[in-house]
Symmetry: C2
Subunit: 433 residues, 2 copies
């Protein structure tokens, strides 16, 4: 019988934990014989002392072994995308239908928003009627019929991650390379996709603040995936400003549908294309980058991708008419202008601050029980490098409550920093692996 | 309203927490609005990132403010002793009566054993009838009548420390300079003694393994005490071997009484005298080291110190006849010899291993609920530097169960390491501050 305190002390002192020790600790935690506070202490020790590569690999395997695995026929060439999370990140909602329209098969298990970043499931659930809680069998059947499905993690898929992820969030151990790696890769392997592209966000609005941190994580994700027979590509993308022009659940669905209807949106387009190219190449649907890009453009311009989104909404019991009638999407009653506080070129946008500010009007969650206001959010079309004038309108807050909306508008205004010399627009695609 | 996670992240990133933040965190923890797991995570972050001196000072003050304070009249010149804990440490039980016999006033709040070190309260409670759970008023009255009293920490004395200390023990954050400092000094200041001598144990059987670690802690303890109007002396003593010849609750009382009856015991005598000298100088009872030493010897040789112990036992409802009739003390039925495993000079004695081994026969606690066997323990008269021969008897285990006792005897035998070249006896007193 191992002693949990001795294992905590071992990790605290910078030693490695072996498979037997990690299995004991995590299984005892799941069965309730190790309490939350001992797990919390171990996680903070891992945060500070990190883990060896083979220890991270083992941790991921122990996570996977804690629950069920979904499998798909080998010849389906399944491919999934994972994003490490950012403000305004709605890419999955356009990427999955585009890749499906090109012939890809995407079984996607996604998450809810917590902290300053939003969640794909919350965004999808702003579509009237849409559900994300399907059984494994129903999930497989939607994937087969539509080409993609996006559902929530079931109780039985990687329970170790479900429990530990929720704990990490409230004990300040989110930004840990070994813990992030085990969390992402265990879920992505257990959900059964053979190929995976990771959108690794870098910058002030992301968990990884520097490209070096992000590269370390990227290498680790790829190594662990490959060791567990999953092909992994990593694309590093800029998260210094919110992604796209809208933030907020219903507002982002609005923006996604407009994009699939053919309305240009450069930030979304650039990232979606880069990720879709990887997915089409990995699965062999396209033989070259150029061929992939042609297929992607055609999927959008022909309306095929929008059709896939519509089929998906229907399959998951949402109202598919939203794809033609955007007014069916929730939108908060009041629109409050955001006024620039300074004059100059936008040097910095504190996306994290914006994400947290929007929680106050129900666009995000403070705790897992927070009720969302699907129609609330913000329209923020300006990016780093744009010039603004003090007092000019630089965006709009959508809120059900005017005075709270005004407070949020002020907080968002404060999150824009200007400089007196022209600043270049930032590149969206930073690197790939 | 502060956010606990943000405070954890602040400390995790190595920033200081201010008074308002520490107060919020600790008060919310005590009131139940911050759960154990968030406190556990903060404590592990403090373990890794430590605290600034003024932050440690503040933490100590926040601890003190969490409960009641006991006060004594200023002209009582109260003095207390604190030991950082070691194996076989029975010093309080002879020191308090000696200093009281010299005219000192010692209001001592002590602890129970946990981990490999024993606790003064457990040792005292092996005396038939003796209680340690008195009210503040009864405590004061015993101190006034006898010159000293040794009781347990009440619910209302530094509840922050009581709760956090118990948590630290099970989450692997005991050996943290800021947490040790706040824990010791908050209790010692709240219990009202104007002067304090600290027996800071150093070595393999202590929490502080090196003299440098111990010095850092000593300086911090003294600084915090002085800033809160308590005079503090620190004596650094050797804890590479168990202290004295006996380990085990009733057995140590036996050894204490024999010592006060005049039986020489060099280890106990050296440390007790060093600490008592400090206490007599601090309180002005003696003007010089020499005068102090004369008074101490007289207190022992005249029987005055033994008389004080007897008065104390009576006042705390124990059977005072133990001071004359040692057979009234508990002693386990079976005595099992410990045989040397090697030939040579004793180079090392793993006191920590001995402490843990003795838990198996009830001499110490595995958890706070462990029932003790007051008569169990070991007699270990040999010290580092003594020569032994393989197979020779080097000590005795006292156990109620023969086979368990034999296992413990083997574990203790293993904890003696011999070398082939003569080794000097170790000095007991290492330094003072």
């Amino acid at each position: 019988m191992m002693n949990p305190v001795e294992l905590i002390i071992k990790k605290r002192n910078g030693e490695s934990l072996n498979r037997e020790e990690l299995t004991f600790f995590i299984e005892s935690y799941l069965s309730g014989s190790i309490p939350e506070y001992q797990m919390a202490s171990l996680l903070m020790a891992i945060f500070h002392k990190s883990m060896e590569p083979d220890e991270i690999q083992t941790l991921t395997e122990v996570y996977i072994a804690s629950g069920d695995r979904i499998t798909f026929p080998k010849d389906w060439h399944t491919v999934d995308k994972h994003s490490t999370g950012g403000v305004g990140d709605k890419i999955s909602i356009v990427l999955a239908p585009i890749v499906a329209a090109c012939g890809g098969i995407i079984p996607m298990i996604s998450g809810r928003g917590l902290g300053h970043t939003g969640g794909t499931l919350d965004k999808l659930e702003s579509i009237p009627g849409l559900r994300t809680d399907f059984s494994d069998a129903a999930f497989r059947s939607i994937v087969e019929d539509v080409g993609f499905s996006i559902i929530s993690q079931s109780e039985r898929l990687v329970p170790a991650d479900r429990r530990i992820y929720a704990l990490r969030d409230v004990i300040g151990t989110v930004e840990s390379l070994p813990l992030i790696t085990a969390s992402i890769m265990s879920k992505k392997i257990a959900e059964g996709a053979q190929n995976l592209v990771i959108d690794l966000k870098v910058g002030s609005g992301a968990f990884m603040k520097t490209i070096q941190q992000a590269r370390d994580l990227g290498v680790m994700l790829k190594t662990v995936g490959n060791n567990l027979n999953q092909k992994v590509s990593v694309v590093f993308t800029n998260m210094n400003s919110p992604l796209g022009n809208f933030i907020g659940n219903g507002l982002e669905i609005f923006e996604c549908i407009e994009y699939l209807q053919g309305k240009p949106q450069s930030g979304i387009h650039e990232i979606t294309t880069a990720l879709a190219v990887e997915m089409l190449l990995m699965t062999g649907i396209a033989a070259s980058k150029q061929e992939a890009e042609t297929k992607i453009l055609h999927a959008i311009n022909s309306g095929a991708a929008l059709g896939k989104l519509q089929d998906f909404i229907t399959a998951q019991e949402g109202d598919p008419r939203v794809c033609e009638n955007l007014s069916l999407l929730p939108r908060a009653a009041h629109q409050i202008p955001i006024y620039a506080e300074g004059t100059g070129w936008i040097e910095q946008i504190d996306s994290q601050k914006i994400g947290y500010a929007l929680i106050d009007i129900g666009a995000g969650r403070r705790t897992l029980d927070t009720a969302l206001d699907y129609g609330s959010g913000a329209y923020l079309p300006l990016k780093i490098g744009d010039s603004i004038q003090k007092g000019e309108t630089i965006g709009t807050v959508y809120s059900s409550d005017v005075s709270q909306g005004e407070m949020v508008a002020r907080k968002i205004a404060e999150s824009f920093k200007v400089c007196k010399v022209p600043k270049k627009r930032e590149v969206m695609l930073l690197d790939r692996l």
